[in-house]
């Protein structure tokens, strides 16, 4: 009886604390997004006297000739394309690195770790991008995001390939499949759980990336959703309602991913993080 009481007391306290600490900021965002400009400028935690959430939504989508809409499209393309590139090429490396012993493996592992630890050199990267004509272009940004995410993905894939029995490879080879078919039709489908984790984690990372597009993808036409926040903040000091509506809009895609794939994110990330 004593134990049950304890469970309830601690649980209730934790729920109240978590509400104050973790949910109040999100409630604040929603309230601000529903106010008119004058009230929102107050930045106070209060209910709006008039709810203008729909009007704010329309306004934010129309501001700066629809920059927010354009940036959602840019961010969408950037996220999907870079994550697709990352998944395929990192899985190829993780697979071969785990399966094939070789003298170079320690060196490759070293480079993978270096990619995880070393901060990218910003201006020289711009210099290289200019050299190959990809600076300020979406394809350039896609390749940059793919490169910066590679190491993390390779580590996850390598750890997971170790759990797939080698006999499956042999069986596939017995059935006459070549190395490419072996990888794409036998191995890759077996990597599904970790592929899902990588897709979710990296989509959130790319979608939320701010520094990358800030440096490598300047210009209003190319702006990504994170940059619209930044621009909104500097341009429209009096329009806090639109700023917070933008914050709210940008929070929705990761929130949806999280609600649907909560379990996979958690499972995959922990297994990979502990083993890697």
């Amino acid at each position: 009886m004593n134990r049950t009481a304890q469970r309830w007391v601690i649980g209730t306290v934790a729920i109240v604390v978590s509400f104050v600490v973790f949910l109040v900021p999100f409630v604040f965002i929603i309230l601000q997004a529903a106010k008119d400009p004058a009230e929102a400028a107050d930045l106070s935690f209060s209910l709006p006297t008039k709810w203008v959430i729909w009007q704010n939504l329309v306004d934010v989508l129309q501001s700066n000739d629809g920059q927010v809409v354009r940036s959602f499209i840019n961010s969408g393309i950037l996220t999907v394309a870079s994550v697709a590139v990352m998944v395929v090429i990192a899985a190829m490396v993780g697979y071969v690195l785990q399966r094939k012993p070789g003298r170079l493996n320690p060196l490759i592992n070293f480079f993978v770790l270096a990619g995880l630890i070393v901060p990218p050199a910003v201006v020289p990267t711009i210099w290289v991008l200019q050299g190959i004509g990809l600076f300020k272009t979406l394809p350039g940004m896609i390749l940059i995001e793919a490169t910066f995410g590679l190491s993390f993905c390779i580590l996850l894939f390598r750890a997971f390939v170790a759990t797939i029995p080698r006999e499956l490879d042999e069986a596939a080879v017995l059935d006459g499949s070549g190395p490419i078919r072996l990888f794409f039709t036998v191995v890759l489908p077996l990597l599904r759980p970790v592929v899902i984790t990588v897709i979710l984690v990296q989509s959130v990372a790319v979608f939320n990336d701010f520094a990358g597009p800030l440096y490598f993808l300047p210009g209003a036409d190319n702006s990504t959703v994170q940059l619209t926040l930044y621009n909104f903040q500097s341009q429209t000091l009096s329009q806090y309602n639109l700023l917070f509506m933008d914050v709210l809009l940008i929070t929705i895609p990761p929130l949806i991913l999280y609600i649907f794939f909560n379990r996979q994110i958690v499972a995959g990330m922990t297994s990979g993080a502990i083993k890697g």
Partner: protein, 309 residues
């Protein structure tokens, strides 16, 4: 049909034999060219810029014009008190956020692996900020920490506590940002610790209890030592993130007031913005050296300890 027929006739050497025959033929099923796409990207967009940064850090550089000036950028970096401050802040920020994430994350993980009410909800809510845009979080907390209208000072005022200018007081700004960083990132730490704790065989805990250990004793002599791999992962991930941190600082204070919340990453951006590309790159090299000098021995140490267990 023909394909099946040819396959039915055993060739002189069956694929199985071929597979087993030797290193060379087995290796051909794991083609080395699978490395090529990834290494092409890695070399062109990561390795080349990193190596080039060691040269450009020694130049006055406008992207078109390069003048070699030796170590002047580094001299400037370490003589300018404002830039040196950024250097020190980077360590302070990295260590404080990382240490707090370890302690709070472990405490939360212990709480969330014990049978309490609303555990699923609590796990979800602690992890949720991890997914939200850092810039969005920064903007939100900038408003919440507003000295006059913000809810934090409002609440402090209600109970009669002092109401500091969280982001406007030079002595506080960096720590206010660090606190928000902890708030946002503690979910990852908690999650990793939960995974580590759940993986501990229950028999150990029971054996300890049979031997008469209380819950504190179980924690210090079973849970803590056995969640060491998780601890290592949390320390490494949060320290890498903390030392490289830029987004949140930029969104909340822009390095201000003055330069009191600047870290190396924000110095790099400021110098880039003002067109001092050589100096900015020198900052990058400093960050590179700092992060590597801390992370390489640390991760070697943590991994070795992990293998002892």
């Amino acid at each position: 049909m023909t394909a099946t027929l040819t396959r039915a006739v055993p060739p002189t050497r069956t694929p199985k034999e071929q597979f087993k025959r030797g290193r060379r033929s087995r290796a051909s099923f794991y083609p080395s060219w699978f490395y090529i796409p990834a290494s092409a990207l890695y070399v062109v967009l990561f390795a080349v810029p990193t190596f080039a940064s060691f040269y450009f850090a020694l130049t006055r550089w406008t992207l078109f014009d390069v003048t070699f000036i030796g170590f002047q950028n580094f001299v400037q970096f370490f003589q300018d008190p404002q830039l040196t401050q950024g250097f020190i802040h980077t360590f302070e920020y990295g260590f404080v956020t990382s240490a707090a994430k370890v302690v709070i994350g472990l405490a939360l993980a212990l709480l969330l692996t014990s049978p309490i009410l609303g555990r699923g909800y609590l796990r979800a809510v602690v992890f949720f900020p991890v997914l939200v845009s850092t810039i969005g979080i920064g903007i939100t907390f900038k408003a919440l920490l507003d000295p006059f209208h913000g809810i934090v000072n409002g609440a402090l005022g209600l109970v009669g506590l002092p109401q500091p200018g969280w982001l406007t007081d030079p002595n506080l700004a960096l720590w206010s940002v660090a606190a928000v960083d902890i708030w946002k990132g503690v979910g990852i730490a908690t999650l990793i610790f939960i995974a580590g704790i759940v993986a501990i065989p229950q028999e150990y805990v029971e054996a300890a209890k049979v031997d008469g250990a209380g819950s504190w004793k179980v924690f210090t002599s079973v849970t803590l030592p056995l969640s060491r791999p998780a601890m290592g992962t949390v320390i490494i991930l949060s320290l890498i993130g903390g030392l490289r941190s830029f987004d949140l600082i930029w969104a909340m204070t822009g390095g201000g007031p003055g330069f009191t919340s600047d870290v190396i990453a924000s110095v790099i951006y400021k110098q880039y913005q003002s067109g001092f590309y050589g100096l900015s790159t020198a900052g990058n090299v400093v960050l590179f050296v700092v992060v590597t000098a801390i992370m390489v021995p640390l991760s070697a140490f943590l991994n070795r300890k992990g293998k002892d267990l």
